[in-house]
Symmetry: C2
Subunit: 332 residues, 2 copies
């Protein structure tokens, strides 16, 4: 058996594991025990398996297009629109079109014959389409990791969302906040899970309790308003609210206004996703800028590299964020 002819299936058979477990073990982007990972890697080395061969074997007669799958709830968030156009811009550099995939897209319908690869952004374990997409027999790059099981993606571009929330909480503490609260979605996505974990770690490290309220992934301003009103009523001396869902932060300001709390003075307010909503309020809201257009570019660039065989399957790239400090936390 020459090294060129060794496939992922050969490795999986020799190791006595499934193809997806072998992929996970070699790729490094999925969940697999360290023992299994070492076992599969040893087998792969023995057989002379080369990941690049796998990457190339995934390539087929090019459709000239890649697919873009956004969260089902993402259609009203300008964050995803910026990300989409970033991906379009980068893909065109390689002569690739971006096909916008609707909600409820399954890998059926000949998806693999329509696109060379897929971008799956913020995959949520509650989304039934995601496992199908990961199994679509074309390279897949996820924006943030997928926390569910099944086939591992070929690559991922990730933000350090724990670090950005920690920076936000540090900033609020520095501005005098002693009783902060966080409005965050449940832990079905890598992003939300990181926020919960970071709030918990920060609370214990600083010995300052962060009250966490769960809201929908794409909470509306009205839902943020209701959650904030409840926080104001139940948390004594509440002095800061961090709102995770994009676009919902005006609801936090509305609740503060009704309660007679001055945003930026009596109540500090910050958002985990910068965008039109955070910039459109009065005062404007301090927010983490995830640089959506550049994020989309980075996802498309990694997929291009995987298709060209210039990135190894399992590649995970980091994407940087910045903190935009505005009037809602200046105590001016």
């Amino acid at each position: 058996m020459t090294s060129r002819s060794v496939t992922l299936i050969d490795v999986a058979r020799a190791a006595g594991v499934s193809k997806s477990t072998a992929s996970n073990a070699l790729g490094g982007a999925g969940r697999v025990s360290e023992t299994t990972r070492r076992h599969v890697r040893n087998i792969a080395q023995e057989l002379g398996y080369r990941p690049n061969t796998a990457a190339r074997s995934l390539r087929r007669s090019s459709t000239g297009a890649i697919g873009l799958y956004l969260p089902r709830t993402g259609t009203r968030l300008d964050y995803y629109m910026k990300l989409a156009f970033g991906a379009v811009e980068r893909a065109r550099e390689d002569g690739l079109d971006v096909v916008l995939l609707g909600p409820h897209t399954a890998s059926g319908g000949g998806l693999a014959s329509r696109v060379d690869g897929l971008l799956v952004i913020d995959p949520d374990i509650a989304d039934p389409s995601v496992p199908d997409l990961l199994d679509a027999d074309v390279p897949v790059v996820t924006g943030e990791r997928y926390l569910g099981g099944g086939a591992a993606p070929s690559g991922a571009v990730v933000c350090d969302n724990a670090a950005s929330l920690t920076a936000l909480l540090d900033h609020l503490a520095e501005r005098g906040a002693r009783r902060p609260a966080l409005l965050a979605p449940g832990s079905g996505s890598d992003w939300a899970a990181a926020l919960h974990a970071a709030a918990d770690t920060w609370s214990r490290r600083k010995d300052v309790e962060v009250t966490v309220r769960t809201v929908p992934f794409a909470a509306t301003p009205a839902q943020a308003d209701a959650a904030t009103t409840d926080l104001i009523a139940t948390v004594p001396d509440l002095d800061a609210v961090v709102c995770a869902p994009d676009g919902a932060v005006p609801g936090v300001l509305a609740a503060a206004l009704r309660a007679g709390l001055r945003t930026g003075a009596d109540l500090l307010v910050a958002a985990c996703v910068d965008g039109a909503a955070a910039r459109g309020t009065h005062p404007q809201v301090t927010a983490v800028d995830l640089r959506a257009a550049e994020y989309g570019q980075a996802c498309a660039a990694l997929l291009s590299d995987l298709l060209a065989g210039t990135a190894e399957p399992g590649t995970v790239r980091r994407h940087d964020w910045t903190l935009n400090v505005r009037g809602s936390t200046t105590r001016s």
Copy 2:
């Protein structure tokens, strides 16, 4: 010459006009004098030209995809995201993918070999890509009409934007407004041109002056804030502001707040495009709902019909709007 073999070029030659003028004259969606239109139509009838033949001749070996072109400024407006997913949903019913075209897309790069047809949404005369796209040698459906010259689109889906602004101004007058103002983009798009014309007509019919301030097509809240602050300072007894650009209306409320005017009482506020921004303010803002997802569906449906030969080239379909009345105009 049998009727089946007569092409648009045959008609153009016989009539002594260019292909695009012949297309405009027969299609009815473009600008051409009534004399020319009648002349070309007579020639077409004499030759036995059948528009359906032309529609079929435009069909080529299917790429399985249609292109979607959004305004260059549209990437941060959730209106266009909803519209895009509406188009994706409808196109999938016909087995068509939707390729998202980036800003600055030209008909070069083999566009006609990549897509069967194009959706060009809110084409603006200032956008240099639009004439190229209209000339891309595939059927084109525009969302709203194109006010520039060149090749006529194969079809259009239009809203009666004059009627919706008239309804909005009537509503404000009914709620007691005597000195309304309008923040609207310059007349480069069909939508903006209709708003200017409707404001002018309404002013003369009601003998109530509507003060119009020009703002960018995708004005930010800060730009709407600045324009409103200027209106408050310069228009005596200003009592209502209609904000046309999607997403900018929170700036109007911010300016009112700073000036000590209560929105919904001292100053009535309304928006020409409903969306997250209009629903996220306190009070929520009365707005025209253009039903973006359904608009996208209607555009994709017309393009499908043109590709299938079940709609005539030059078909213009109407799309309905509704008015959502909210706290910003209730005087409660």
